[in-house]
Symmetry: C2
Subunit: 255 residues, 2 copies
């Protein structure tokens, strides 16, 4: 059997330690093509580039491994990879390892998960990996076996059409091992926003940085936040139909 | 009773005809605060600005009407409006009128709907309005009564927590009236992507523009695409839980 073809991307940019680790792991499983943003694209969600053209660079091209950077968003990387750079539809798309949580409602802001969902929209099995550690030297040592296990499983079993996996790892503390995998649902939570104010030294005018406190509304064992809090690796199966089905009949009564 | 407070935003930018029309209509219903992007932010999805600071400008400030522009995305506009510019939580957030469809899977790329969903995440009733007409002089004459009717209804009845409405209008042809409102679900569809290639005149290197053909996979009367095709105004109630619930048990068998 020929080697599986795996497309790797992320949102922290092509030089981030998270994607370098993911590339290293995926090369154990198949033929890898990397198409990743040339600079950080965190919090770009499902954005695509329409105001300026896309330019790619070849970073490394060998028989079994190809690496390209693109001046676009993570979703651009998936689209451009699929339609311009890959020789065929890949068997798997992986995105990450993101430096920071994409659990709960963070998924909606996430470029990492935007890329994974774009894969699902193209009916390609896709997984986003994230670790709850913003540090450049985040410790991935205990994540590796899980990433390989999950990716292998998806390569062997596939995923139903239109489904991607949102995988989050707790921050590794003192080399303690994780308790295992847990299949979860997305937690209800919100960001209590704030904006830090500074002053422009040239004209004294205010400018603002978005800040905020993440607040979880529930403590249910079925949620990803519970799993992560309790040192499990969380897996949420995700999809891209936004319809609130339970509202349809209610709204029909309006008419 | 005091006038309702309405936050208006969009993704085409504060000068777009669509938002000017929406402002005009909302001023008939309440006290309006506009916080809109200073330049076009189409296809920005749920992106937020984290790499550069936000700066706003006061465009017009009166007792009953306030208008600000912001150098950010539609979601930034909602967050900044709610947490810095509005005196209290608004009774309604409206986004649009977008020049172009946000029906079906276009919702996931849409800055217009990103803003509406951000409202829903803050438990504020929110509506995104779009018309299937990219022209600068799109004809809104038949949309007006629907927009007023839907906004009034939401102001009076509210929406369940976490729900927003995705409202799309067919392109108006020869002043024909719409057939009515239709409550729908999001259609299954996809973009068959392509990338148009050009050459940089300075160095001969290729650059690319994303193009594509929108392809609808189903022709079911319950969908928004069917409604729009048949000259109805489509309303899809939407939510932001990405969990694929039907997959949870299936994945548990993996373990």
């Amino acid at each position: 059997m020929s080697k599986p073809l795996i497309l790797v991307t992320n949102d922290d940019g092509i030089t981030a330690p998270g994607i370098r680790k993911l590339i290293e792991l995926m090369r154990k499983l198949g033929k890898v093509v990397v198409v990743a943003p040339e600079d950080p694209q965190s919090a770009m969600s499902h954005a695509i580039t329409i105001k300026c053209p896309l330019v790619y660079k070849e970073i490394e091209i060998t028989e079994d491994y190809k690496e390209y950077s693109l001046n676009g968003t993570p979703v651009d990387c998936v689209k451009f990879g699929l339609h311009r750079l890959l020789e065929r539809k890949p068997d798997l798309i992986v995105s990450g390892i993101n430096h920071g949580s994409n659990a709960s409602i963070n998924i909606i802001y996430s470029g990492t998960m935007g890329a994974a969902l774009e894969g699902a929209m193209g009916e390609i099995p896709a997984i986003g990996f994230s670790i709850l550690d913003y540090n450049h030297d985040a410790d991935f040592s205990r994540s590796e076996e899980y990433i390989l296990k999950i990716a292998k499983q998806v390569l062997e079993q596939g995923l139903d059409k239109g489904i991607a996996l949102n995988v989050n790892f707790p921050k590794l503390v003192a080399d303690n091992d994780y308790k295992g995998l847990k299949i979860c649902r997305q937690s209800k939570a919100y960001w209590k926003e704030d904006f830090a104010e500074r002053n422009d030294p040239r004209n004294g005018k205010p400018y603002f940085w978005l800040t905020g406190t993440f607040t979880v509304n529930e403590n249910d064992e079925s949620t990803d936040e519970w799993a992560l809090e309790n040192y499990y690796v969380s897996i949420v199966p995700v999809q891209f139909d936004f319809t609130a089905y339970q509202q349809i009949e209610k709204l029909k009564n309006w008419e």
